[in-house]
């Protein structure tokens, strides 16, 4: 059964915060349908009562002592931030402006 990804592309791209050009969307819809069709073949396998494997190591959760250690100085931590000012990163306005609420 082919998977029609055409209708889903916009929705999934929005979830992934990924802006796609129109041509890119079309191409991707075709490719993803094909890939997912192959991926769906796992449905043929009976997995009744099979536990999922999310990780192969059977290690317990690792905890460490709650001790203060040296961390990166602020300028080092922010050295790669493309937009920064006075020790902060800058982003577009997150809260709605009063005008937008009207």
């Amino acid at each position: 059964m082919p998977v029609d990804f055409g209708k889903e592309v916009d929705y999934v791209a929005r979830l992934a915060r990924l802006s796609l050009e129109p041509g890119e969307k079309e191409r991707m819809a075709g490719q993803l349908s094909e890939i997912l069709e192959t991926a769906r073949r796992i449905q043929e396998l009976d997995t009744t009562d099979v536990e999922p494997t999310s990780h192969v190591t059977e290690l317990p959760a690792v905890l460490r002592e709650d001790r203060i250690k040296l961390s990166l100085p602020l300028n080092r931590a922010l050295q790669n931030s493309p937009r920064r000012e006075k020790g902060f990163v800058k982003v577009p306005r997150i809260t709605a402006s009063e005008q937008a609420e009207e």
Binding site: E24, E34, A39, E51, P52, V56, L59, P92
Partner: protein
């Protein structure tokens, strides 16, 4: 014989006996890089000044009679998804083109502490997603055996650097074959250790339950030397295994009398080159002639493994790559709102394959599809692990192909992602099971392209894999063959 043609083990010996200085060794590799890399493009960033400084420091320490690591002064190349402090780490992506890590990965700390000069950062498929190194945002790397062909991927730069003597050793990473498949296509030895054996701290995350750092080398002994340095417990990686590491590099003789080898029968996997099958069969016969017990083993879920992998890895990737939003690091685009800014940054910063995987993963994890895709794939992963548990009840070592075909042509699979994914079919189930797996040269195709064998063992049995690799090396004459680079003056000698 030129220094760049020596193995890491020989260089180590020559350095320790003061036959050569580290600066001389580094210079030889730098000259080789200058000669070869313009043709093959294995490196994204070269670090000649840093490497010479590091070599000089080691020479000074040696002159002072300090006790130093056996690999001190032996240079290494590093895949460009492993964080190096104050040295650009791009993951071959536009989104990280100018990223300068403020810290070292644990494996880099180990390399620096041992005094191994870093020659540069090697090319890869963007964020290690790919099987040909063509998904690099900068340029593809070419196969030294035939520059019209791909080196494999994603650790294509590391494999090419080692194959051509631009570096004696390299670090790569393997999520679903990214060390073994390029090693196979370039005719070198590549080890993917047991999941958790080498710290992932500082390896830029692709699929965290599968990613593993490993070694690329010309010989098993060289791989063992580097493994001894980078393997082991690391409190900075919560999935790091606490088990002691063995001495990988001594006692590498394979005891064939007590070895049970399972020759993998690939059921309905398509597109297998008959010459690859022939090479693997010959390798099995060779083991048998030398006293090993060889039987056939079937891992019936191999092709389902591919399907499960292409749900699990993209799902984890879509989550891991959520961090690239243009705020804390990386490329940043404009937008009136935060959402518009994030979406444009990611849309412009990521290449096509990374976007495809983010889309698949986001879809597989989204409401309504999670159970049918991601959860189901994780259950299939359990079935695959059981396959291996069964196989390892009967066999100590599994033998198969490291790639279904020799190197393919540049551009041959770029328009068909599914065909590209199929080139990892031999490597993926080992990754899903978390077991150690190694590619070693097995022979050549009729057109002179390398064909790799893949050996798989129980968790933590890396040393058995290295012993088996060493056995195959000893059967070869010469032990290691380098590609003749005919486009270079003289071509260079090609044997070790």
């Amino acid at each position: 014989m030129r220094l760049y043609e020596q193995t890491a083990a020989d260089l180590s010996r020559m350095l320790q006996s003061r036959e050569v200085s580290s600066v001389e060794v580094v210079r030889s590799f730098l000259e080789r890089i200058n000669e070869v890399d313009p043709h093959l493009k294995a490196f994204i960033t070269q670090t000649p000044v840093m490497a010479l400084d590091s070599g000089g420091e080691i020479d000074a320490r040696r002159m002072r009679g300090e006790t130093i690591h056996p690999l001190a002064g032996v240079p290494v190349a590093v895949k460009d998804n492993i964080s190096t402090m104050d040295l650009r780490t791009t993951c071959a992506s536009r989104i990280l083109e100018n990223y300068i890590p403020p810290f070292d990965a644990t494996v880099i700390s180990a390399i620096k502490k041992a005094g191994m000069p870093i020659l540069g950062k090697t090319n890869l498929d963007e964020f290690a997603m790919g099987s040909s190194t063509e998904n690099s945002a900068f340029y593809p790397t070419r196969n030294p055996w035939d520059p019209e062909r791909v080196p494999g991927g994603s650790s294509g730069g590391s494999a090419v650097a080692v194959a051509t003597g631009m570096a004696p050793l390299a670090l790569g990473s393997d999520t679903g074959g990214s060390i073994r498949q390029p090693a196979s296509l370039c005719g070198v030895t590549g080890l993917r250790p047991t999941y958790g054996r080498v710290s992932r701290y500082g390896l830029v995350a692709f699929a965290s339950s599968l990613d593993q750092i490993g070694t690329v080398s010309t010989t098993a002994l060289d791989g063992a030397l580097l493994m001894s340095l980078v393997a082991g417990y690391d409190p900075l990686d919560s999935t790091s295994l606490p088990d002691q590491i063995p001495d990988y590099s001594t006692g590498l003789e394979l005891d064939l009398k007590n070895l049970r080898v399972g020759l993998i029968r690939y059921g309905r996997v398509e597109g297998f080159d008959p010459q690859v099958t022939e090479t693997v069969t010959q390798a099995a016969s060779l083991l048998e002639e030398h006293g090993a017990e060889v039987g056939e083993v079937s891992l019936p879920l191999t092709d389902y493994g591919l399907s499960a992998y292409y749900l699990i890895a993209p799902s984890e990737a879509s989550s891991n790559l959520g961090r690239y939003d243009g705020v804390r690091y990386g490329f940043c685009s404009d937008g009136d709102s935060v959402e518009a800014m994030f979406s444009r940054t990611r849309g412009e910063g990521f290449g096509p394959e990374v976007k495809r995987r983010i889309m698949i993963g986001t879809y597989a994890l989204s409401a309504g599809y999670y159970d049918a895709y991601y959860l189901k794939a994780m259950k299939v992963r359990t079935l695959i692990r059981r396959d291996y548990e069964q196989a390892f009840k009967k066999f100590d070592l599994l033998l198969g192909a490291a790639s279904p075909t020799p190197a393919f042509k540049l551009g041959e699979k770029t328009e068909d992602p599914l065909q590209m994914y199929l080139s990892d079919v031999c490597n993926i189930t080992d990754s899903l099971a978390g077991v150690p797996s190694l590619a070693v040269p097995g022979g050549f195709s009729s057109s002179g392209l390398p064909i790799g064998l893949q050996l798989t063992a129980r968790p933590l049995q890396e040393k058995l894999l290295l012993k088996a690799a060493r056995f195959f090396e000893e059967q070869r004459q010469p032990a290691f063959l380098r590609p003749r680079l005919e486009y270079l003056e003289g071509g260079g000698s090609n044997e070790i």
